[in-house]
């Protein structure tokens, strides 16, 4: 390598660091101040409690998150959100280096190379999903992105000089980081095929050096050892202990930690057995539709337009533009820097086409809304393609530089870079176009929702919930912020697993703090429960079947409750283990402690045949031990059932989410918009009850507040017409493996 070339190839580490710092500043300005919907609360809670989130358990993330949560800045959620921001900013800085490295092969002017590199960092940082996932720790994917970027840079360095003094060390380090990245998320392995391709193309003989390969395998294995955190930590039974990967029942011990039970449970967690996705040959949607989902999300990256506000086909035009720029960038990359291309090209192929095939998703939540009745994902899965969009942005930047160069060379005999630089403004489109939708600054709605629903439950109550959005934020509120820990939250989607109920029974009773609770519960004494929420022994619990294969109506009798359960009204058409355990909870607790069903479950009380015993109190439905009768304060409202008006009004006044939703003025994630809708439905129901009581003024006032929430969330069109609709399903669930119920004969 000549001195001149080597000077050109010298990486601008300082400029990359400055770029990363600028990206971090953008993320901090738009950072969520607290938790958010879906998995954000679960991961923040796991980090804070050093617990175990859903399989595979993400031990490296938990460690990083726990360390982040110790940093004395802002609240705990903010600190963990900062981890996402720092991870993505680090990736942006490294994409700067990668882009600069490619540009060094065909652009002689230093400032032009650096401008192109900044462009790569800017585009990758402001692509919608990357940005939106970097300003709240909703998933572990930003940490994975940082690993991808670091491995990419190391591979570029190796490709530069595969026979150099440090080449072997770099490969061993890459192997170690791939293993370590896997303990953050299995996606850590996705970078492997690209590394292997680069090695095969650049120096295939490397794969025959058995001592080096052995060292790499050992390093990779060592990188996987953070998984040991799971059984060790699980044995201490932290508040969040998904999968319960330990054989230790009471306390940690050598024998139980190294038992078959521990190994079996740990492997079940690591292999995500809980989810049991179908074989890849069994497509959940046509592959063309799955690629269509990727394309839908690709379009979001350059202009996120959740409400179709942008004029005409602007989003499509921009998507085609950035697709074309990316293809042009890929061609330039291939022609100018073949060595790194054979890493980066396969990487993009792996995290795009191969990942689409592997994930085998159903139709996307927002995809092809005109197709009624097709199986759909519960939420939009754009975050799974964050790596794809981030890497594609690097190519799009290279393509834009190619356009710039072409223009600069046409203007004069020597390239007029400055004159033609305005074309680079195309690179600022995602920054401008996504700012409003990607930013989570000042968004307190989820945290307030968690407080509101917990406060809808009387002291020491049991709250049955349905999925992610009516459960994880509650875990966060209870375990991180200490809000209403006296309430026992039981989520039906996890009651079908064996480990969840063990954890619930282990959960210590916490004394209700009247001063911290809502005013409506003050001035009364609330009996402290003395028994666990279920009377079943662990042996009896293990014998509860996965489902009852009955299709005829079932009777449920307990005291004065005489309910008839029509299995056809249940989600799977038969009573599942979760339904049986909920009924057992009712049996064991009705009359002893309050039992509620979250209204976000969209009629679960009715599905259990409990209509006559259901009393709406704010955001939750209390199951009464006797049939609910109308009275001065209890009003039967058509379409709602009985509403406790006084309690509902008092709770409504204490709710914080309505104001938070209105302040935000948007609800970008449409699949979770059932949560703001639930507030509107609650207000409309209360308004109807007040109307029936002859309180027209109060009725009008609360209806207006409810519709203001709908306007704040931009779901007013859901409430067109005077009749309040039935509560919308709001829970949303990435449910564990659905019980395999035989088809109806």
């Amino acid at each position: 390598m000549s001195t001149a070339v080597s000077e050109t190839l010298r990486p601008s580490y300082r400029a990359a660091a400055v770029t990363a710092a600028a990206v971090l500043a953008l993320y901090v300005v738009t950072l969520a101040p607290t938790t958010a919907m879906w998995d954000a609360s679960e991961y923040i809670t796991a980090a804070y409690t050093l617990g175990i989130p859903h399989p595979p358990g993400n031990p490296l993330f938990v460690l990083l998150g726990r360390v982040a949560s110790l940093i004395p800045v802002g609240n705990v959620a903010y600190r963990v959100n900062l981890l996402a921001a720092v991870s993505s900013a680090l990736a942006a800085g490294i994409w700067f280096l990668v882009a600069e490295r490619v540009l060094a092969q065909w652009i002689e002017v230093k400032w032009v190379r650096r401008t192109g590199a900044v462009l790569a960092a800017l585009l990758s940082a402001t692509a919608f999903t990357v940005w939106n996932q970097s300003v709240v720790n909703e998933k572990v994917y930003t940490v994975s992105l940082a690993f991808f970027a670091v491995v990419s840079w190391l591979t570029v360095l190796w490709c530069d000089d595969p026979d150099g003094r440090r080449a072997d060390r770099i490969l061993i380090l890459i192997a170690y980081l791939i293993g370590l990245g896997y303990t953050n998320h299995p996606a850590g392995f996705l970078v492997g095929p690209a590394v292997a391709t680069a090695v095969l193309v650049r120096r295939p003989g490397t794969l025959l050096r058995w001592r080096l390969i052995l060292a790499a395998v050992v390093a990779l294995g060592f990188g996987l050892t953070p998984f040991a955190l799971e059984p060790i930590r699980a044995a201490h039974h932290p508040a969040l202990n998904e999968g319960d990967p330990t054989g230790c029942k009471d306390k940690i011990g050598f024998a139980c930690t190294f038992s078959d039970t521990t190994v079996h449970r740990l492997m079940a967690n690591v292999n995500r057995e809980q989810y049991g996705k179908p074989d890849l040959s069994e497509r959940q949607a046509p592959f063309s539709a799955q690629m269509g989902m990727w394309w839908l999300y690709f379009k979001w990256q350059w202009l996120r337009d959740p409400h179709g506000d942008a004029p005409g086909p602007m989003q499509d035009v921009l998507a085609l533009l950035f697709l074309s720029l990316g293809i042009a960038g890929g061609v330039v990359h291939y022609k100018r820097d073949r060595a790194s291309f054979w890493f980066f090209g396969p990487l993009i192929g792996t995290v795009t086409v191969a990942l689409v095939y592997y994930m085998n998703f159903k139709y996307g939540a927002s995809q092809s809304p005109e197709l009624a009745g097709v199986p759909r994902e519960v939420r939009d899965r754009d975050y799974f393609y964050l790596w794809s969009f981030s890497a594609w942005s690097v190519w799009a930047a290279l393509g834009l530089v190619a356009v710039w160069r072409s223009l600069a060379e046409r203007v004069g005999p020597t390239p007029r870079w400055s004159t033609t630089a305005p074309v680079l403004l195309l690179g600022a489109i995602p920054l401008v176009g996504n700012f409003r939708a990607a930013s989570r600054a000042g968004d307190w709605a989820t945290r307030e929702w968690a407080r509101d629903i917990l406060n809808s439950v009387e002291p020491y109550g049991i709250l049955i919930t349905g999925g992610d959005n009516d459960t994880f934020p509650l875990w966060y509120a209870q375990e991180v912020e200490g809000v209403r820990p006296d309430v026992t939250v039981a989520v039906t989607s996890l009651l079908n697993t064996d480990w969840y109920m063990r954890g619930l029974l282990r959960r210590p009773a916490v004394k209700y703090d009247s001063a911290a609770g809502p005013a409506v519960y003050r001035g009364r004494s609330w009996p402290v429960p003395t028994k666990p929420i279920l009377s079943l022994t662990p042996e009896q619990l293990s014998q509860v079947p996965e489902y009852l294969d009955v299709r005829e109506p079932l009777r449920f009798d307990q005291g004065d409750i005489h309910a008839v359960i029509d299995p056809r009204r249940l989600e799977e058409g038969v009573p599942l283990r979760s339904d049986l355990l909920v009924l057992q909870m009712l049996k064991d607790n009705i009359g002893q402690r309050p039992v509620y069903i979250s209204r976000s479950t969209a009629g679960y009380a009715q599905a259990l045949g409990l209509d006559a015993y259901a009393l709406t109190q704010g955001l939750a439905t209390k199951i009464s031990s006797t049939p609910v009768a109308s009275s001065n304060d209890t009003v039967a409202v058509p379409g709602f059932g009985h509403i406790d008006v006084a309690r509902g009004l008092a709770l409504w006044k204490s709710y914080g989410a309505p104001a938070a939703i209105m302040r935000r003025g948007d609800w970008v994630d449409r699949p979770s918009a059932g949560i703001p809708a639930l507030y509107t439905v609650t207000a409309l129901g209360l308004g109807q009850a007040l109307e029936q009581q002859g309180r027209a003024g109060d009725a009008q006032s609360i209806r207006k507040q409810g519709l203001d929430v709908a306007e704040g969330a931009r779901i007013t069109d859901w409430f067109v017409g005077a009749v309040p609709p039935s509560p919308a399903p709001a829970a949303g669930s990435d449910a564990p493996r659905g019980t395999t119920v035989p088809a109806r004969p």
């Binding site: 460690l63 360390v67 060390r169 061993i172 940690i252």
Partner: protein, 57 residues
């Protein structure tokens, strides 16, 4: 000729030993129930010392 993967320098070996020790301390504290020292030690061990020990000459 590329330098052997096993021809680590004394400095690299010391770093590898330090990484192992810090990680061991982290797991021991974790087993004890620690939730402050353990994550700090494990993060430093896995993400700072171990990579450095593999990269450094």
């Amino acid at each position: 000729m590329p330098r052997s993967a096993f021809g680590a320098s004394r400095r690299a070996l010391v770093l590898r030993l330090a990484a192992m020790l810090v990680i061991l301390v982290g797991f021991l504290d974790l087993a004890r129930g620690g939730i402050v020292l353990a994550p700090l030690a494990l993060v430093v061990g896995y993400l700072v010392l171990a990579p450095l020990s593999l990269f450094i000459d």
